[in-house]
């Protein structure tokens, strides 16, 4: 078993497998990929890229979705 790497998800530190992709992270968090937006180190990812972008130590991931709001 390889040692976990440290990343940041929505501002919180988190460990993950060194070979994990963004898609793996979303599955681990039980987040459905439809209607979420993911930013990896300030780069907005296309949904098709989720399973191809692997995570590196120190990566900053932001996962966003729609909530109630007016103005």
């Amino acid at each position: 078993m390889t040692e976990a790497i440290q990343i940041q998800v929505n501002g919180e530190p988190r460990g993950c497998r060194p070979d994990a992709t963004v898609g793996d992270l979303l599955r681990e968090l039980s987040i459905k990929t439809e209607r979420v937006a993911v930013e990896l180190n300030l780069e907005i990812l296309d949904r098709k890229e989720f399973d191809h972008r692997s995570l590196k130590p120190g990566d900053r991931v932001e996962i966003l979705s729609f909530i109630g709001g007016g103005s």
Partner: protein, 257 residues
């Protein structure tokens, strides 16, 4: 009023009432209020997913994007860079190319920073967004937003959430006469007569959130707003009588004793 459709950026809407989804007690109440309002367009915000508590429900489980046109906003953005970031994230989250663009200038008034707004709108229009800008009741800025390529402009009636109603009907009227795109009066409405007045002035639609969500009975207020917008629209199209200082009898003099 069938056939009185509103068309913005290729989208066609039956209802001229646009509603927000913030400040409700829960998603069930949000859903009921939106149904009662008869709105086709529903605004939402873009925020971080709660990753620690995944049991939380998703708004779009209640507000079906197949049934409603989802209009994401850039609420809470105080500079161009943030507004662009949120707009792009909203599009990446995959409901549409529509964006309710807000670049705010000040926390106390939430008034738009129109300089930043014009800059952000220009960039987003180039990127293919359908930009609906939340702006001041300033006819010159409204025209500039249209020149940039916004298919509609959304001037405020009063500060967001203030419930003061239409503070500057004359400026709004000038915008409606000068600017040849649909005008959506956004923010500041307090009660049904405010919405009716906006429509009577010639607004093409009214957008509100707090006036409904903050009412004692949000579902009843949502219904009231539906009728207010319909009544105001009908009155506008019917053409009101001119204002006169003195009376004109409506019963004939002829045949009197």
């Amino acid at each position: 009023m069938t056939g009185d459709r509103l068309i913005i950026g290729g989208y066609e809407f039956k209802s001229r009432l646009f509603v927000g989804t913030g400040k409700y007690k829960d998603f069930a109440e949000t859903k009921k209020a939106i149904e009662a309002s008869g709105a086709d367009v529903v605004t939402v915000a873009v925020r971080r997913v709660n990753i620690t508590d995944r049991s939380k429900e998703n708004l779009l489980d209640y507000i079906d994007p197949k049934k409603y046109t989802i209009l994401p906003n850039t609420a809470g953005c105080y500079n161009v860079e943030d507004a662009l970031r949120y707009a792009r994230l909203a599009r990446a989250a995959g409901v549409s190319d529509l964006i309710k663009l807000e670049v705010l200038g000040d926390e106390r008034t939430l008034f738009p920073d129109t300089v930043g707004l014009l800059e952000a709108a220009k960039i987003l229009v180039k990127e293919g967004f359908i930009v609906l800008p939340y702006t001041n009741d300033d006819p010159i800025v409204a025209q500039k937003l249209v020149d940039i390529g916004c298919p509609s402009v959304m001037p405020l009636a009063a500060p967001i959430g203030a419930g003061l109603g239409i503070r500057n009907p004359y400026n709004l009227k000038i915008i409606m006469e000068m600017v040849k795109v649909p005008i959506i009066v956004d923010a500041g409405v307090g009660t049904a007569s405010d919405a009716a007045l906006a429509m009577e002035l010639g607004a093409d639609a009214v957008l509100m959130n707090t006036a409904i969500a903050g009412a004692k009975d949000p579902i009843a207020m949502a219904e009231a707003m539906k009728y207010a917008v319909l009544a105001g629209r009908l009155a506008y199209k019917a053409g009101r009588i001119p204002r006169k200082l003195y009376a004109t009898a409506s019963s004939p003099i002829e045949g009197m004793l």
